[in-house]
């Protein structure tokens, strides 16, 4: 596979083969973000598709001021949050059981089991708390950034983070 910069340049020129390779390189990272932000595997698939369709339209505007992966990551966050704002969906989310196999791969590993429990607990958080938790604790955004992205006050972001952590600790202690 060509170097990432070459792929981006070719994708910017409209090369779908290069774009497909970009998808292959970044799908796992984008899907993980979408899955955690939506808490729902089916929604995550749809959002991942949306992100790459949007990327196809926007890739020419990438000017290399940041790493391509960081730029794509921000694009993905915007796509997911915009979609939620548009539809305002608040369905009960249950994360699909994709990963029980991970349990067996590390037999006896309590950390692997804990990660799976944690993923499920994150998926079960209320939407607002989950989004702030994922963006702050997993993805490393600051409260000011999150406030701008999600469209809430900075104080609300802090409160949602506090709530999310408390709910997760309670859930994981059961």
């Amino acid at each position: 596979m060509a170097p990432p910069d070459d792929l981006v340049a070719r994708a910017q020129a409209g090369d779908q083969t290069a774009f497909r390779d970009l998808y292959r390189q970044h799908a796992g990272r984008v899907y993980a973000l979408c899955l955690r932000l939506t808490g729902d595997a089916r929604d995550a698939e749809e959002r991942t598709q949306d992100v790459f369709v949007r990327l196809w339209d926007k890739v020419q505007s990438f000017r290399g001021e940041s790493a391509f992966s960081s730029w794509l990551h921000r694009l993905a966050v915007n796509v997911v949050l915009n979609e939620r704002r548009t539809t305002g969906r608040r369905e009960q989310r249950v994360m699909t059981m994709e990963d029980p196999g991970a349990l067996e791969r590390n037999r006896g590993s309590t950390t692997e089991g804990l990660s799976i429990d944690l993923e499920r607990a994150i998926a079960a958080l209320p939407d607002g708390a989950r989004e702030v938790f994922v963006l702050y604790d997993i993805e490393g955004y600051g409260h000011a950034e999150i406030a701008g992205l999600v469209g809430i006050a900075e104080g609300t972001s802090k409160a949602q983070l506090f709530r999310a952590r408390r709910l997760l600790r309670e859930k994981l202690e059961r």
């Binding site: 070719r10 409209g14 998808y23 292959r24 196809w56 249950v94 059981m97 029980p100 196999g101 067996e104």
Partner: protein, 326 residues
């Protein structure tokens, strides 16, 4: 759990999770619909295509190491002596007395048993794919789920981090036996989740049957085979329900999704009597095949099954609850 433990656990979460299926075909279809807006880019596109072609021609095709274990396996038309490479598109074939070992990139290995024909379809970091035309392979993979796939004439075995033996004839009749982790076998709309210590039979133009555990009673296996592959219908369902034990809950979980809607209540009630549903799973939701209810139930069934398997011979595990029997 305190704040630090939570923080540490978050730090261990994987940065990448591969989508459960390849999303590229849908994305490609969508971007093609929008591409008319970008058609003035055809000149650089053509140039890029030429460059890509040159690059592809100059590139070495992806390949995996292959080692002769016994006899004289053949790669393409060349007999394999000691070691060699299996390139994308090439076929490895063993006769009745030969075996070979394929290194699956860096994530595992596949032993190709006698009388087998297997082709390397994809050898990328994000997709390791073989096509098993007929014969038997032993696969051992240590990677995140959904990186290793084996196509058979009737469907695809999708690795969820595991070890398994897969046999098929040239029509797709065969058997998948999982000895570690979990494998999903998919055919069109039908799929089977097969955890360690369980098997599923496959049939041409049908796909995977209801999985069952290694120590499942023979009459139960016969009833499931009749249900899946011989139009056993309600009679086979009732027979299976009558014989099933708590240890067979994973079979009933699959059966619930395959029986006629009129029989779902019957299957659910038997399953719930053997392994009580987890909190939050309602009968009506499970019977309606609500994905959330089914996934929650599967999580419980799978965890109990997993404990039974890994603690076999060490502790007695209650198959209804997964707790140690005192």
């Amino acid at each position: 759990m305190n704040e630090k433990e939570l923080h540490d656990a978050v730090g261990r979460l994987p940065k990448r999770i591969e989508p459960p299926r390849d999303l590229w075909p849908d994305i490609e279809a969508r971007i093609k619909r929008t591409s008319w807006r970008r058609r003035w880019y055809w000149i650089p596109l053509a140039a890029a295509a030429v460059l890509a072609g040159v690059w592809l021609v100059r590139s070495q095709p992806a390949s995996w190491d292959v080692t002769q274990v016994s006899g004289r396996p053949v790669v393409g038309t060349t007999p394999l002596t000691a070691t060699g490479r299996l390139r994308v598109g090439e076929v490895l074939e063993t006769d009745a007395s030969s075996r070979a070992l394929i290194a699956v990139g860096r994530i595992g290995q596949v032993e190709v048993l006698p009388g087998t024909r297997v082709q390397l379809v994809a050898a990328r970091a994000d997709e390791h794919r073989l096509a098993l035309a007929h014969g038997t392979i032993d696969a051992k993979v240590d990677a995140v789920p959904r990186l290793f796939f084996v196509d058979t004439p009737v469907g695809t075995a999708i690795d969820l981090g595991c070890a398994y033996t897969l046999h098929t004839d040239s029509l797709g009749n065969g058997l998948l036996h999982v000895t570690g982790g979990q494998v999903e076998f998919q055919t069109g709309q039908r799929s089977a989740r097969v955890p360690l210590g369980a098997l599923t039979q496959t049939r041409a133009s049908v796909g995977p049957g209801v999985p069952y555990v290694e120590d499942a009673p023979e009459p139960l296996i016969r009833a499931l085979v009749a249900f899946d592959f011989a139009n056993g219908g309600a009679r086979a369902t009732r027979t299976a329900l009558a014989i099933a034990r708590a240890q067979d809950a994973l079979s009933l979980w699959h059966l619930l999704q395959r029986v006629d809607p009129a029989l779902r209540g019957l299957v659910y009630d038997r399953l719930a009597a053997l392994v009580p549903p987890p909190p939050g799973v309602r009968r009506a939701a499970a019977i309606a095949l609500d994905s959330g209810a089914l996934e929650s139930y599967w999580t419980k069934i799978h965890r109990i099954h997993f404990r039974r398997m890994i603690l076999k011979g060490v502790r007695d595990i209650d198959p209804r609850t997964g707790t140690t029997v005192r």
